[in-house]
Structures are given as structure tokens and as C-alpha cells.
Subunit: 419 residues, 2 copies
């Protein structure tokens, strides 16, 4: 595919590089060729859909045909979502509708929140505390914005190590604390305990105006609110901001994020000296299509679909984890999580076929909406078949994953004896 | 429009806020309503197209229907464009094809450049020198990344004031200089002289490894290379990077930018101590649709269309400027520019109708592809009619714009006498 795209394209460039349009074939021919490339690309992607189980992107939405006419326009939501735009080609009304939806979900009044739809970033001064299992963009942001950073250890399941957080908070008591809380870590799908973090801050003597909590709820932010018994994500607690991804659990053809914070932080910057967000939005120009996709998705399906998807995904994730453990394959699944972590497959072709994401001795499947039991079974069957080959001669043994999964979830020969 | 969107949406939220899906109308009804809103929105935008003359967005492309099927997928070009992606749902082959095109345009070898397609930012340490007419995102970036900033004055036409630059460079000789050069300023469409800036740096004693030049060619980067007698934008000169916007002159339904720099800056960071771009891309996730839109646009039309569009736009801009001056309205147009700056209309309704962008006593029209003589004439006619009302009783007089446009372009009563 890659070679073909470049070739076709180079032909065209060669034909026109003297600034004179002298195509080797008529324009229609060129268009036909390009359309062929595109059709082939779309076909390949369509076929690969059912192998897309390693990354959290929901592509089982159906609004693309209805929303396609919007591609005629270049919609740019420049600046604040709430101020009237001086131009026509924006979708701020849709953006505000989506933000209102999330404000309601996260229990903050319409006139008390501020937010926007973007690719989502964090910017503050003070010391940033983030667990080592946080998304890499947190560490990148810290570097880019030249923030002081304290990396906190994690527990076996991927949650922040509250004891390590406590001791580092105590050492740095002279400076305000900005805490990144993960609501679903990238790799293990672990959920940090908001209440416990808040209590730790208070026990360490941080008053309310000396700390700021950001919740990175990229994937799980649209799962937890719809699960009975799961702890709410709510701005009634002393949380400064919440961000989620739009292209993950909800589904959107372009990467995007929703960011909600308290209006008081934005309008009266001087009051909170450690929120250095002097500018409201980080990128000036913002994609105007994404709010409409999100709006349409939430409007047509909303709570009902999210509730159903969350339930099914969690059930399917448990199903996969159980099958793996029963087959003697080390695996782990956090409570309320859809990310099944398991022993990393030996064969790179297998990893590539199933779009698996891996880290050290682990790999994971994110059981997203649209990943059916059939897909899971087909993956499981493929894994079992291949795995028999990897370990058939006992030349190699499956790795011990007790440190990463806990002994109860490690099925290596040493641990099996004890279990 | 805005109220209706919110209303429809709120109805749905109310119906489902208890987490139980209890719609007041069946699902099909809801979809019909949403589609009505969308149709109305698309209609409004379509009607407003011919009034979109104040901002540089080209919406006269025709690839939207062909590329619409891509909306089925969530394409994410995460990380480097040049490394193979571990997943299927990306468009890096298209991205690299587009980058290659620009590398060729800006005269840098395939294996010597590095770049990516994104919303585009700048990140460095050292002192940043930018003229006060630079795009606001430059100043925002400087604040976000906590860079030292020297703002340089501009000449009457919007070009950087080389004398002011020289004196500020001399004061700060102990620190490396990062210079933002505008190839088309946002408001006046002024083009800084690259050679003169480079010469100034050398005259001030800055050696090649003590300065870094970034060219912000957002709009004009796809005009100048296609105009005979215009100075080339070329990386054969000691320029560090060039960025342009994809949604402006070329046209793309989403805001995007192309950024090209020298590979040596990215691969051997330690050598150039003032390029602190420790991470390759600034945002991790990048929209995978935009490269395909750009690729399609360049492939089907490429040099030929850009050459034709540039020529027509510059001619049409001159036509508008001449009509304004002949009618006694202060106006200015830089050489090779498509941005006609003129006396700011008094009536806000008029400004809003024509999507005009204004600053102090000035407004501008950006004569983009698709803005025809008919549109220009219709705008001019409307302006003349309205303007007669604004100044009919001689209660108010048109403002003097000699400071902003130069006396030869100012048509206020004082200057008229001298001209």
C-alpha cells in the first residue's frame, strides 16, 4: 500500500515539478487512479476492523454518512466556545451543547463550569505529581511547559501508590501540588481512588487552595458513570478538572478530547496562583467537525447506549480474562475495567495481526464497544493455536508475571504450583 | 439556530438523565429532528459561503464527497510520521507523501528533512524575536513554553522593522536568537525579507549555530512559490523550519498545518542547544484524516491549480484595492499579497454580514480562491451604498489611516488634499 501511494503521487509531482502542468495522462485518469488507491485503502481498513482489539478506539458508530455533508465546510471553533463567533463557519452551539452534557454528567452547574473540545492538554505551575503509569502525554506536557515533576510509584494493579504519594507530598509541602489522577491507566486500566488522594492531601496539611486535582478519564470517563456501584466522577468533590477522549469510548473519526474545569479558575486567574492557564484554549484553531460528531452521538444514543455499552464491554472483558486464566495464561483485569492485560505473545506477526499494544512482558486487549464474543473467541482460538507452537518444545517457558499481575493472576509454572 | 440546537438536545438529556432511556418520542423521531437541525445548519452554511471574504479559508474544494467514506474510521497518526505504525488505523503513508511534496517545494532533500502534519506549534529556548504583527499564537506559545520574548516593531506596511531587530539583537548577543519571520502577516499580509534578516543576524555577529529562523508561512506559503519574481521560500538558505496551514490556501475541512524542519535538529538535539524540542511531535494523537485530504488535493490539482489560484487571487486583490482607492476609500495591498486592508466599516451589521476581520481603524478582505469578481463587486456595491449612509450628514468623517497605510494610501480629507 505505502509504496503504491508514493509512486502514484511521485508520478504526479514529476509531471508538474517545473510549474507547468503536463500530466502524462488526462486529469480524469489521475482521479481514477487516486480513487482506486482510496478504495483499496478503505477496503483494507474495513477488513482490519475486526482485528482492532488492542487500542481503545470505538469505530462502531453510524453517523458518518449523515455527517459527511459537513466536509464541504472548514469549520473552525477559534477561541472561547461561549463567546459569539464573528464568523459563520464554526460549530460552537454544538460544542456548548456537548459541554453542557458533560457538565451535567460530572455534576457541576452550567454557570460554574468552563471547558472546550480539543485534543486536550494540561498547563499549570507548581509541582506535578503523576503516577508512573500515567499516559505519556502527562510527562510530555510537564517537559514542554517546564513544570516540576514528581513521579509516583504504582501498586501491582496499576493504581497510584498512596504511601509514596504521601511521602513525596510531605517533602514538598512548601509548594502547591497538582495531582494527576488516572481514571483508567493506559496500560492496566487502573482507577486511582479520588477520595483517598484527597484525604492524603488533607492529612499532609495541604489546604484546599494549595492543591489542584486533574482527573485523566480519557477512556473510563464514559464508562464509570453508567455502572452501578462504581464510584462517581463528580465535581462536587474538590477536583479541578476532568478530561476525556471523544474518539475512544464514544467514537469519533478524529482524535479529540473534552475538557471541563471550574469557571472560577479561568475567570479569576490571580486567585489560584498555580493555574497558569493565562490563555483560555491552548491551540487557537480548533476542529469544528468534532463537536458535531459528539453532539450527534450523544443526542441519538446518549445515556442509554453508554449504559448498555459499558455493561456489555465489562462483561466481555471478564469473559476474556476468565478464558485466559482457565487456559493457564496469566491475565489481569481491574474492577470496572475493560482492559484485559495478559502475557505478551512471543510472535510479532500475531501482535501485529491483532493490533496489540505491549509493555515489558505484558500485552493488552481493550474490550471496546463492537468487540463481540465472536471476535473474542476468534482471538482466543488464534492465541491458543499459536501459543502451542511458541512453547511446544519447552525450549522456552511462559514468563512469570507475578510482579505485574500479582501471584494470583500469574500462571507461570512457579506460581501454578502455589495457586 | 443556537437556541434550537440546545432545546432539542436538552429535551433528550432530560428524558434520560436518570440513566433510564425513556424518550418522549421514538428513536426515529429523534433522528429526524437531529437531521432537520443538521440540514438547516448545512443550508445556512451553504448560503453564507459567498459572504466568507474576511478570513483565509478556502472552501472551494470538491473532494469532500470522495473522501466521506473515510469518516467510518478513526484514523490517528500517533508519534513520528516516518516510523511504521503498530496499528492499522493511520494514514502515515499519505502524510509522508504530503511532507515529501513540501520538502521538494522548499528545496530540502528527502533524507534531510523532518516534519509532520498537525495543528502546528513552535517550541524552543533562547530569546524569541517576533514582530508585533506576528500571529497571536506565537505570543501564546512563548507564554506557554515560558520563553524569553522580544517583540519587534513593524514598518508601516506590516514588515518587521529591521532596525529595531538589529538593536535588540545587539543588546542580547549573549543568548541564541530564535527569529519568527512572517511570510504574510495575519492582518496586513506583509512579507518579511528573509535575506535581510539573515544579513542583520550576521552583521550583529551571530554565527550560524547561534540563531534559528522559523518561517510562519501559514497563508502565503502556497502562493509565493508559484508567483514569478516573488522571492523563493527555500531551505537552501539558513532557515530552520517552515510551517504553513493546510486549511487556508489549499483547503481542508479541518484546521491543520504542515511543519518541515531539518532532520539534524531532531535527531541530534544536543548539537543545537537552543532547539529544546525533546519530544518529536507536540500532540501525541494526530488527526489521520487531514493528510488524506491534503494528499488528494495536491495529487489532483497540485502545482497547476496553485499556480492558477495564486495568479487569480493576486489579480483580484489588486482589482479590489484599486476600486476602493478610486472610490476614495483608504486601502492598502502589499506586493504578492491577497489581503486587502481598508478603512474599517462603521456598521457592525455590515462587518458581520461579510465576516470581516478588523483591527483598530482597519478591516481586511482576504481574496481567497473561489472569491470571484462578482463577489468582489457585490461586496463593493454593498460597501458603497452603506458607506454613503454612514457619512452622509458629514456628522462623522472617514478616519485618517496614514499611520497604518502610509499617506499615499490614505484617502482621508487631510491626505486627499496632499495627494
Amino acid at each position: 500500500m505505502s509504496i503504491q501511494i508514493l509512486l502514484e503521487f511521485d508520478l504526479m509531482v514529476v509531471a508538474t515539478k517545473n510549474g507547468i502542468y503536463a500530466p502524462s495522462s488526462p486529469r480524469e485518469n489521475m482521479c481514477l487512479k487516486l480513487n482506486m488507491i482510496l478504495t483499496q485503502y478503505v477496503d483494507t481498513l474495513s477488513q482490519r476492523m475486526k482485528y482492532h482489539i488492542g487500542y481503545p478506539t470505538n469505530m462502531h458508530y453510524e453517523h458518518h454518512a449523515i455527517l459527511a455533508p459537513l466536509l464541504q465546510f472548514s469549520l473552525n471553533n477559534c477561541g472561547y466556545p461561549f463567546t459569539q463567533s464573528p464568523v459563520d463557519f464554526h460549530s460552537k452551539d454544538f460544542e456548548v451543547a456537548v459541554l453542557d452534557w458533560f457538565a451535567q454528567l460530572w455534576e457541576i452547574d452550567k454557570d460554574e463550569y468552563w471547558g472546550y473540545i480539543t485534543s486536550g492538554e494540561l498547563h499549570s505551575s507548581g509541582i506535578l505529581y503523576a503516577s508512573k503509569d500515567s499516559h505519556y502525554s502527562i510527562f510530555k506536557a510537564a517537559r514542554l511547559y517546564r513544570m516540576e515533576l514528581e513521579t509516583i510509584n504504582t501498586l501491582v494493579n496499576g493504581e497510584i501508590d498512596y504511601e509514596d504519594l504521601r511521602s513525596k507530598l510531605l517533602v514538598n509541602k512548601n509548594k502547591p501540588a497538582i495531582i494527576n489522577i488516572n481514571i483508567g491507566t493506559t496500560f492496566k486500566g487502573a482507577i486511582d481512588d479520588r477520595d483517598f488522594v484527597i484525604q492524603t492531601l488533607e492529612n499532609c496539611g495541604y489546604s484546599n487552595n494549595r492543591y489542584y486535582i486533574h482527573c485523566d478519564a480519557a477512556l473510563f470517563g464514559l464508562i464509570l458513570p453508567f455502572i452501578r456501584h462504581a464510584k462517581k466522577i463528580t465535581l462536587k468533590k474538590p477536583i479541578g478538572s476532568i478530561s476525556i477522549s471523544g474518539h475512544k469510548f464514544l467514537g469519533c473519526p478524529m482524535p479529540c478530547g473534552i475538557q471541563i474545569t471550574r469557571k472560577s479558575y479561568v475567570s479569576s486567574l490571580s486567585k489560584i496562583e498555580y493555574i497558569n492557564s493565562t490563555d483560555a484554549t491552548i491551540s487557537g484553531s480548533r476542529n469544528g467537525l468534532t463537536p458535531i460528531f459528539l453532539w450527534y452521538c450523544l443526542s441519538t444514543e446518549g445515556h442509554a447506549r453508554l449504559q448498555q455499552d459499558s455493561k456489555i464491554c465489562i462483561e466481555n472483558a471478564r469473559y476474556l480474562k476468565d478464558r485466559l486464566l482457565e487456559a493457564g495464561i496469566s491475565a489481569m483485569l481491574n474492577e470496572f475495567s475493560i482492559t484485559v492485560v495478559f502475557e505478551r505473545p512471543c510472535d510479532h506477526k500475531f501482535i501485529r495481526r491483532w493490533n496489540l499494544c505491549y509493555l515489558r512482558g505484558m500485552a493488552h486487549v481493550v474490550v471496546m464497544p463492537g468487540i463481540t464474543r465472536e471476535t473474542i473467541d476468534s482471538f482466543f482460538k488464534d492465541l491458543m493455536q499459536e501459543r502451542n507452537k511458541w512453547y511446544q518444545d519447552a525450549k522456552a517457558l511462559p514468563p512469570c508475571l507475578a510482579d505485574d499481575f500479582g501471584t494470583q493472576n500469574c500462571m507461570c509454572s512457579d506460581n501454578k504450583m502455589h495457586n
